[in-house]
Symmetry: C2
Subunit: 357 residues, 2 copies
Amino acid sequence: MVELKNDRFLRALMRQPVDMTPVWMMRQAGRYLPEYRESRGKAGDFMALCTNPELACEVTLQPLERYPLDAAILFSDILTIPDAMGLGLYFETGEGPRFRKPVRTEADINCLSVIDPEQDLPYVINAVSTIRRELNGRVPLIGFSGSPWTLATYMVEGGSSRDFARCKTMAYNQPELMHQLLDTLAKSVIVYLNAQIKAGAQAVQIFDTWGGALSHSAYREFSLQYMNQIVDGLIRENEGRQVPVILFTKGGGQWLDDIANSGCHALGIDWTTHIGNARQQVGDRVALQGNMDPAILRASPQRIRQEVATILEQFGSGEGHIFNLGHGITPDINPDHAGAFIDAVHELSVKYHQKSN
Amino acid sequence: MVELKNDRFLRALMRQPVDMTPVWMMRQAGRYLPEYRESRGKAGDFMALCTNPELACEVTLQPLERYPLDAAILFSDILTIPDAMGLGLYFETGEGPRFRKPVRTEADINCLSVIDPEQDLPYVINAVSTIRRELNGRVPLIGFSGSPWTLATYMVEGGSSRDFARCKTMAYNQPELMHQLLDTLAKSVIVYLNAQIKAGAQAVQIFDTWGGALSHSAYREFSLQYMNQIVDGLIRENEGRQVPVILFTKGGGQWLDDIANSGCHALGIDWTTHIGNARQQVGDRVALQGNMDPAILRASPQRIRQEVATILEQFGSGEGHIFNLGHGITPDINPDHAGAFIDAVHELSVKYHQKSN
């Protein structure tokens, strides 16, 4: 294995000293980049891009060519696991992801079994090893998965949802059935992320996009419990280094104390949380990743810089911050604004990492 | 004026002793009720129902005929103010509210002026006095308005939005312009709610449906500041009784401390907030209204009762709780389940209001 040239991201996740705050962007390989749109055009569609390891590698590296990012993230979709379970993932223009065979009944759920990533999702594992090789030690590679609850919402609803009517009805009326589904998903996420780690992922993130739609007690029961189970089941160390785990529950700002007790290394937080308050709450248990509103990237570079300065000041001096957006970058963003954001993080954060003498 | 026979709701808002926890439901006059659907059919469409004071009164009273609710709420829409400003409100099936003339430019915003409710929205004021007369003292009547920020999102976006791209861009790039819009809206909400109070509304609620889409600092600057301005401008007392003000920022659970300092009497909270934690945070500054996930109404009456018991226990003994859902009841709910919810609140809450000897 080649030596890692920039380990700022991994060090910050372990709350170790860094020279400046590391930064990456959720969905950094995405439609706001013309080169991404070109690769996607070559592939045909989004899933063709995900399932082709060479093209997935190509788009993963594109934002690193443009910007001094401190991490790469596997280009893939959060719904690969249910797709591998046979639900038939497809994308409807303007409608987001859909499943041809949603799971609605006990019989549907009884048919599901824990995936075998090497067998069922070889294209993801190949993409991880291809990207890792091509990165050649520039920055660490992040692997990821959807959380069991988030996967379950898409599987039961059959796609995106506003109010999660079917999924919540199952959770409240047939909790054993929902737990059976979530347990199968948690076990699948464990083997899936471990396969990504073995193939070269140096940190992993669990995207709990819809945990924030639940009440506090339902969140603990249906989402956090299974993320805890995953954290417990993951490979802790690889290539002589810790493999940090980041849990990101969008809309989970009221439950940071619970999430920080999961055994994960870092919490992703969205922009509704004041990162200074979050730091006070979690103390030295975990690092924090976030949390600029991606909508700020529509503002002027000057305004973007001002927002970065505010967030850095709210976090304050010391270690344990990975700068990111509070959610994925959107297709309408000017790539120069993304660049202004990343540069601002590096430039303005240096002073917060200087040792006082 | 006839005497109020049931003042449990008003007493709880002032944190005064009650025999049981009062309850009402956001959107209690709504499509889940067959009698509502019939009235709406008679009217033709939703706006025809809103603009006809007799029909608006009819649907306002319908849920009170079915259930022992402790308050009635004016049947109207949150977007009456922008409609009165000339934006041309209409409803597209499945798309929600839309404006024919959104406001996007400085010129658009310069054209707007503070509304005169008696002149511009006589149908709302007439509906309030009609409902108040027909209620005949059964329960108090709640008036309401959208918050300035929430109104602004619809006015700038032209309708509902997922990410508030246009509105946030204006807030971040042209803050003075956004403040001009919000100031005009805040002044309009003050005269609008005061007109409702003079016509008979005994409490008012401000619906800040989209404040939760902002960061903490943007929330304070663009939403809370204007709700504070409104609270300061409202009639405090009418008919010899305080007129309590309820602020409800959906998704505002991380900012309760700020909102509690606004001078309002109660905070609405959604189901993502643990009501026991909320009570600890706000102390004796304000009452709390909420906060069952409306999705629970899809579960069995037994499960609904269990959830009500949990929330009552989280709040604990003592005064200052108005039970409600964390958001509006949805059209798919079985009316018997709504009844089970309301009965459960009354029955299970008695013990929390008994004085210990």
